[in-house]
């Protein structure tokens, strides 16, 4: 069942991506000042939203673990965080390549960029912490606490372009500005690409969760073998 769902999601994401890429390269008009490079936004922004959505889901799962103590919530949170870190890295790297052309620099310690980097570092720390602790309940409790703490930074990342007007462009999506900052056709493709990338992320989380379940099975079999 899980394999079928993963394959279904991958196929749907592939078809939607093909449709999106056709429109991104061949249908959408050019941006007057930036040339072709502006098209990076169609991966930069959806990757950022996918990462932040993942961190929010991981926050809910971590709170659920702290409330109910079920280790399944913990392994699901770990899987979601791992995939979210990957998409946050896509966001930072694509943003840096865009900045090299538009700002003339690869990186600057602007509030949005710095908070996004800190976010990746916090959640990479979360993944390293999990490798360092063998005892499952202690690992789950500390990871959940770190995830809750890390999500404070996610809010800062989200709001930083409203709170501090520095190098990074301000909000453009109409859900935040009420409209008028981006061409509706471009915005529609941003959302469509978000859906495609989200489907890929969900498929990866499903694969990762299966691996977490296998690791738990290995742990319990090892304990059983040691007891015998």
């Amino acid at each position: 069942m899980r394999e079928k769902l993963v394959i279904g999601l991958a196929v749907a994401a592939g078809l939607l991506l093909a449709y999106n890429l056709y429109h991104i390269f061949l249908v959408l008009p050019d941006e007057a000042l930036q040339g072709a490079i502006y098209r990076i936004i169609f991966f930069h922004v959806p990757a950022a939203i996918t990462g932040m959505t993942g961190y929010f889901v991981a926050l809910l799962l971590s709170v659920a673990y702290l409330s109910f103590g079920n280790l399944r919530y913990d392994s699901l949170a770990a899987s979601v965080v791992e995939v979210s870190v990957v998409f946050s890295m896509v966001n930072i790297v694509t943003g840096s390549i865009w900045a090299r052309i538009i700002w003339g620099i690869w990186w600057t310690w602007d509030y949005r960029l710095t908070s996004a980097l800190v976010c990746v570092l916090i959640f990479s720390g979360y993944l390293m912490l999990r490798r360092a602790i063998d005892e499952p309940t202690q690992r789950a409790r500390l990871s959940a606490a770190l995830c809750v703490f890390g999500c404070i930074d996610v809010v800062i990342v989200w709001k930083s372009i409203e709170w501090f007007r520095t190098q990074h462009p301000g909000p453009v999506l109409s859900i935040r500005t009420g409209g008028g900052h981006i061409d509706p056709a471009m915005e529609r493709l941003l959302y469509l690409n978000f859906v495609a990338i989200l489907m890929i992320a969900v498929a990866l989380v499903l694969i990762r969760t299966r691996q977490e379940a296998t690791a738990r099975e290995i742990d319990s079999l090892r304990r059983m073998a040691n007891a015998v």
């Binding site: 390269f25 061949l26 050019d30 941006e31 930036q34 040339g35 072709a36 490079i37 098209r39 990076i40 991966f43 930069h44 990757a47 995939v83 990957v86 890295m89 896509v90 790297v93 694509t94 390549i97 865009w98 090299r100 052309i101 890929i200 990866l204 694969i207 990762r208 299966r210 691996q211 296998t214 690791a215 099975e217 290995i218 079999l221 090892r222 059983m224 073998a225 015998v228």
Partner: protein, 61 residues
């Protein structure tokens, strides 16, 4: 399509997919390692259980 900065746009798309691809490869490798480990531990647990069973049978005799 406007060809200005096309090379850097290509690098951006390449970098995005390369990061995802590297993660997928790492997932596949981890999956294969876990599968192998599970088989080994299952064999170990099976051997342990049959040894314990033999000891119990000896005691009964």
């Amino acid at each position: 399509m406007d060809a200005r900065n096309f090379t850097f746009m290509f690098y951006g798309f390449l970098a995005a997919w390369l990061i995802v691809l590297l993660y997928v490869i790492s997932l596949a490798r981890r999956g294969a390692r876990l599968k192998k480990e599970l088989e080994q531990v299952k064999q170990l647990a099976g051997a342990g259980r049959s040894g314990e069973q033999a000891r119990i049978e000896d005691r009964i005799r």
